[in-house]
Subunit: 158 residues, 2 copies
Amino acid sequence: MPGDPADRQDPIEHCRRVLRAAGVRVTHQRLEVFREVLHSRSHPDAESVFRGVRDRLPTVSLDTVYRTLWLLNDLGLITTLGFPHERHRFDGNTRPHHHFVCTRCGLTGDFYSEELDGLAVAEAVSEFGVADRTQVEVRGLCRSCLEGKDGARRKEGE
Amino acid sequence: MPGDPADRQDPIEHCRRVLRAAGVRVTHQRLEVFREVLHSRSHPDAESVFRGVRDRLPTVSLDTVYRTLWLLNDLGLITTLGFPHERHRFDGNTRPHHHFVCTRCGLTGDFYSEELDGLAVAEAVSEFGVADRTQVEVRGLCRSCLEGKDGARRKEGE
DNA sequence: CTACATGCAAAGGGTTTGCACGACA
DNA sequence: TGTCGTGCAAACCCTTTGCATGTAG
């Protein structure tokens, strides 16, 4: 899907191509939403993207921004922080641990690795601030999503 | 705060102690919410915690569960997946990268590390499924939160 | 006994959806 | 020109808040 040298240099063209390949239309709104997320360096929320896009497309609506963001996410053109469409979730595990997250169903499991606990990243993040806790998030597909092709959402089951 | 050998063996007792130390009351509801999150292996949302607690405290209400979860979070007894009170946020950076997250204001910045990109975690997560993408999340305090003591929320500012 | 926490219900805010108009292919 | 996408507004759902009652200390 990616790797096209021309697309690397022109992400907008890449976006056009992916949209076309997916059989959906290439609209100004979609390109502008993509451009906005691409150029934002702050991991914006929908409202923020909306404000940015509205400067160039004054008639754009917030719900179109939402629809477009999820479309771009589904097509792999952008990603989300955390898990899509997810509500707040809590973690009672106070041992140092890391997370495996299934990108299809949202299953999140803990795993342990002393090697990962001791990751040295202090320098890499020094431009932002001071590190307190380092956690590795591995995204992938869980076993049941690998087998069954059911796109079923995760059912909370303890 | 932690490290007490007795508390390691009895988290509930640890919870009691932290609540008292914080000058808030030790109620059945708080202990049961804590117990529920502690024993859940699925990173439950508030609704799920509510259902679990209700089995033992039939009169408990959902809003008490919410209030208690955030209290326990603020006291460091539990944590959240993702960033507390946060709405959906999007990421247009398709290069392999990692995140620095300020636990006070929510500022989230990208940083790069080829060493981290190549982390070998396949075995550790094999019990859950197949890894696709590995991302490191470093939590800490950003520069402005280190200096200014303002607990101000982040303003979306591109 | 007194202040704090709870339960209830209603409000709040972010996100999604139904429908008629408008624009891409 | 036909179909898909958009804008509008209302609905939806998760989460928070105000207030009277109950309860820990």
